[in-house]
């Protein structure tokens, strides 16, 4: 490892607090597999979006009032009177959607390439923790504008906790700070919504620390065998990440500047009214698959448990997946189940947005069943029974065996 710099000031600081050495080690020299494809860009993209959310959220918080009498109007004041307020608001609202899109792709990358398998189990768990924190943050954030969907979404979801036997009702009253969603609820949601992103930031630090301990996976799913397999993170992946940030910003801009309300719900432009329930209470799109799972079970407690189990079972994935091979590139049978699982998640999302009527109920139940069958039955079974394709010698080795080589080369590109 070479020194961070010959500069005297840098050395003076570094001797007392080795920040420059740390950056040199973990962001400049960090040996990264040279065959990473663009699906590996979504981690840094997620970090980028987190920074955007914290910045825009901070400046919004300078003008927002977390009181039921003022919240809705304060958001409209931001939209109309605060300089660039409309931009801050639309960046923040659409940024939340972007954050989930990026993170979902990031997770599915992990599923396809076996990034959750040993030795990356803890890395995977920290990632799941981040996603749970994101969901809590987004849920509370959506309540803050105090529109119809804010209020009723909060009412429906907090009411779920009453399903817990014995203490359920008390927990709900405790969450609300009252006997229904009202000002105490709004106020505490604002405090927590402000706090959690910084908890996420801390979890991201742990996530990157865990990553750097076990080093990055790669599309072939095989371990790094020699320094020839890797290249320094800077400048190769820094510029690649900057490029994908540019592409991301373009997609983000399409939403922010031309379709800023496409991912939202018009009912949230109606001030909250505890006396009027909207015709269709729908959560934001990124919660729809979970909402579908929740509604798939006729029993209230069952639905709640299954919804949390849908994320909990992901934590067991390192053990549920019995395959010795990480990457689906070399798993000809499981690969198709992966795509089926992805489609199933889209179906669940679609069902979550539909009213609770047939045929959506039946489809939702089938899709929910398949979700768990895939993780609990298919994944272990196929892992045992499947004959994987032969793995290449190493990341650098150009040729392995005839057929596998060309496919490996094609799939790794």
């Amino acid at each position: 490892m070479s020194a961070a710099s010959n500069n005297k000031i840098v050395k003076w600081v570094d001797e007392r607090l080795p920040i420059f050495t740390m950056v040199q080690h973990s962001a400049v020299e960090y040996p990264t597999p040279k065959n990473l494809n663009y699906w590996w860009n979504f981690g840094s993209l997620a970090g980028f979006v987190l920074v955007i959310m914290i910045l825009t959220g901070l400046f919004l918080a300078m003008s927002y009032t977390a009181h039921t009498d003022y919240a809705f109007m304060s958001v409209e004041r931001i939209m109309r009177d605060v300089n660039y307020g409309w931009l801050l608001r639309y960046l923040h609202a659409n940024g939340a959607s972007m954050f989930f899109i990026v993170v979902f792709i990031h997770i599915f990358r992990g599923l396809y390439y076996g990034s959750y398998k040993p030795p990356r189990e803890i890395l995977w768990w920290v990632g799941l923790v981040i996603m749970l924190l994101m969901m809590a943050t987004a849920f509370m954030g959506y309540v803050l504008p105090w529109g119809q969907m804010s209020f009723w979404g909060a009412t429906v979801i907090t009411n779920l906790f009453s399903a817990i036997p014995l203490v359920g009702e008390h927990i709900v009253v405790w969450l609300w700070g009252g006997f229904s969603v009202d000002n105490p609820t709004l106020n505490r949601f604002f405090a927590l919504h402000f706090l959690l992103p910084f908890v996420i930031l801390g979890a991201v630090v742990v996530h990157v620390w865990a990553l750097h301990t076990v080093r990055s996976n790669n599309p072939l799913g095989i371990d790094v065998k020699s320094p020839q397999d890797t290249i320094p993170f800077h400048p190769y992946y820094t510029i690649k990440d900057l490029f994908s940030m540019g592409v991301f910003l373009m997609l983000f801009s399409v939403f922010v500047f031309w379709m800023p309300n496409a991912l939202g719900h018009p009912d949230n432009y109606i001030p909250a009214d505890p006396m009027v329930t909207p015709a269709h209470i729908v959560p934001e799109w990124y919660f729809l698959p979970f909402y579908a799972i929740l509604r798939a079970v006729p029993d209230k407690l069952g639905g709640v448990l299954l919804m949390f189990a849908s994320i909990g079972v992901l934590a067991a994935l390192p053990w549920l997946d019995t395959s010795k091979v990480r990457s689906c590139t070399f798993r000809p049978v499981y690969k198709w189940f992966f795509w089926l699982f992805l489609i199933d998640c889209f179906v669940l999302g679609y069902i979550g947005g539909m009213p609770a009527e047939e045929p959506y109920i039946a489809i939702g139940q089938v899709a929910t069943a398949w979700y768990f069958i895939h993780l609990l039955v298919i994944t272990p079974l196929v892992g045992w029974l499947e004959k994987p394709k032969p793995l290449p010698e190493s990341i650098s080795s150009p040729v392995v065996k005839s057929g596998a080589a060309t496919e490996a080369a094609r799939n790794a590109a």
Partner: protein, 183 residues
Amino acid sequence: MAETANPAHGPSDGETRRDFLLYASTAVGVVGTGLALWPFIHSMNPAADVLALASTEVNLSAIAEGQAITVMWRGKPVFVRHRTAAEIEAARSVNVGDLTDPQSDEDRVKQPQWLIMVGVCTHLGCIPLGQKASDPKGDFGGWFCPCHGSHYDTSGRIRKGPAPLNLPIPEYAFLDDETVKIG
């Protein structure tokens, strides 16, 4: 960073192209970041509704000679005093050179009978007394700040005490004989 030597063009050409892209990307990136920061900074400047309340109109017809009113303007008190001839005379007979903050009375008013100034002591920000008839007016017949004993004269100029400057004159204009717009 290893050089890709290209015999046809020579190392300097490849270097120039690599450097160009590096400099161009960096420059555009830095410019973009700066442009992106501006909305955040500007969002902290006064919003449209705050700017709209930045001026106040005052009806002068209710203020008799020798009386004063206090109006709120931009969150601060503004003293509007209908001065008597005696007060004007007292203000004008002072040797400007002797003042802590030299300023002639003519420079502080547009119409001599109307004295309009921000009623915040220039020492540490208290509101001087002297608006009401029953208030102490200090040694110079104008205003007296009870916090640290600054005395202002009938033109609102500091004459005695720790305040360094005269009471500030805000921007104002007479819309007609009965109305003045402050700010």
